[in-house]
């Protein structure tokens, strides 16, 4: 393998592991969702490097796009639920 390809692969692996680590440890759910999307996009680049273009396309569309949107949606719902509960506690 060419030195350039090798460097790219090492950078990708480091980036994937680093993003995974940060998204598991962050306490901010919004940040976690953004990191998850970045993780998905980086992972799809890794699929391209492995020659699996079909998987890369699916990963970018499902892993990064849709799942990210679904998580964002769930986070919003959760925030609304928590706000509702806090209001109830104040009233009661």
């Amino acid at each position: 393998m060419s030195p350039a390809g090798w460097t790219l692969d090492v950078a990708l692996v480091t980036l994937i592991l680093g993003l995974a680590w940060r998204l598991l440890w962050t306490r901010n759910l919004f940040e976690a969702v953004v990191l998850f999307v970045a993780f998905g996009l980086t992972l799809s680049l890794a699929w391209v490097r492995l020659g699996a273009t079909d998987l890369a396309l699916a990963e970018a569309a499902v892993g990064a796009g849709l799942t990210g949107a679904l998580f964002m949606h769930a986070r919003q719902r959760l925030a609304e639920k928590l706000a509702e509960r806090a209001e109830e506690e104040v009233d009661g």
Binding site: N28, A61, L66
Partner: protein, 240 residues
């Protein structure tokens, strides 16, 4: 800034130790499985390539998904349909989220107007490209599904439109087309999901298009908050 929706309490103590142990064990098992993989894994890739010219498409991935193993894809879309029906059942009676208004936040709307036409165009291209290179119905469906979600998030799709009717017709389209193709193939060739010789590529493109449409609708439907099954009294638009 602390997120309003913070994580729950962290797991500590004996339970935490047990969970850590279980996770470490799983990681070890996966690592050992990968390390003991045979040097030359059993593969059917050679046979797929050898019979590719009989499939009607040039992409080996699409040939497997829509021709050699079309039965698996038929069951897959049936599973997706079952999942979305379960979501409809769960949503029934849930209070709808207030629809986001464009006046409050114009950014999602502006983004959607830029991105959605491009995403739909790319989706059509990906469906078509699936016949001869990387691409295909699942990727295209996910892309168009994402575009629909953007429209919902921006408040461009009004709740009435997203509730019923056409969306649900799109959800079942792929399974209907697949079953029709399977039965037509049965009558034409005597075998389930076998295509008449010479017409295979046209059949596959038609099925891919239906698949892309249904997958987009199913994925978008997961984001629809209003009960997907409108109450019978809600209006003349009776659920079909």
């Amino acid at each position: 800034m602390r997120d309003p929706a913070v994580h729950g309490r962290p797991v500590r103590g004996v339970l935490g130790a047990l969970l850590a142990l279980a996770a470490a064990g799983l990681a070890g098992a996966i690592a050992s499985a990968i390390l003991t993989l045979p040097e030359r894994p059993a593969t059917l890739a050679g046979e797929v390539i050898a019979t590719l010219d009989r499939s009607g498409v040039e992409s080996p991935v699409t040939a497997v998904l829509l021709d050699f193993r079309a039965y698996d894809t038929l069951l897959e879309i049936a599973v997706l349909l079952a999942a979305v029906v379960a979501v409809w059942a769960l949503e029934r009676g849930a209070p709808p989220l207030p629809s986001p208004s464009e006046a409050a936040d114009p950014v999602p709307g502006a983004l959607a107007r830029l991105v959605v036409p491009l995403a739909v165009l790319s989706g059509v291209y990906l469906t078509w490209a699936g016949a001869y290179r990387a691409g295909g119905a699942f990727q295209a469906g996910a892309l168009v599904g994402g575009a629909l979600v953007l429209l919902l998030a921006a408040g461009i799709l009004p709740p009435r439109v997203r509730a019923v009717g056409r969306l649900r017709a799109a959800v079942v389209a792929a399974l209907a087309v697949f079953i029709a193709a399977a039965l037509a193939g049965l009558f034409a060739t005597g075998r389930l999901l076998d295509y008449p010789p010479g017409a295979a590529s046209r059949w596959i493109i038609a099925m891919e298009s239906a698949l892309a449409l249904s997958i987009a609708a199913i994925l978008a439907d997961l984001f629809v908050d209003v009960p997907a099954l409108a109450e019978p009294a809600a209006g003349p638009e009776d659920p079909r």
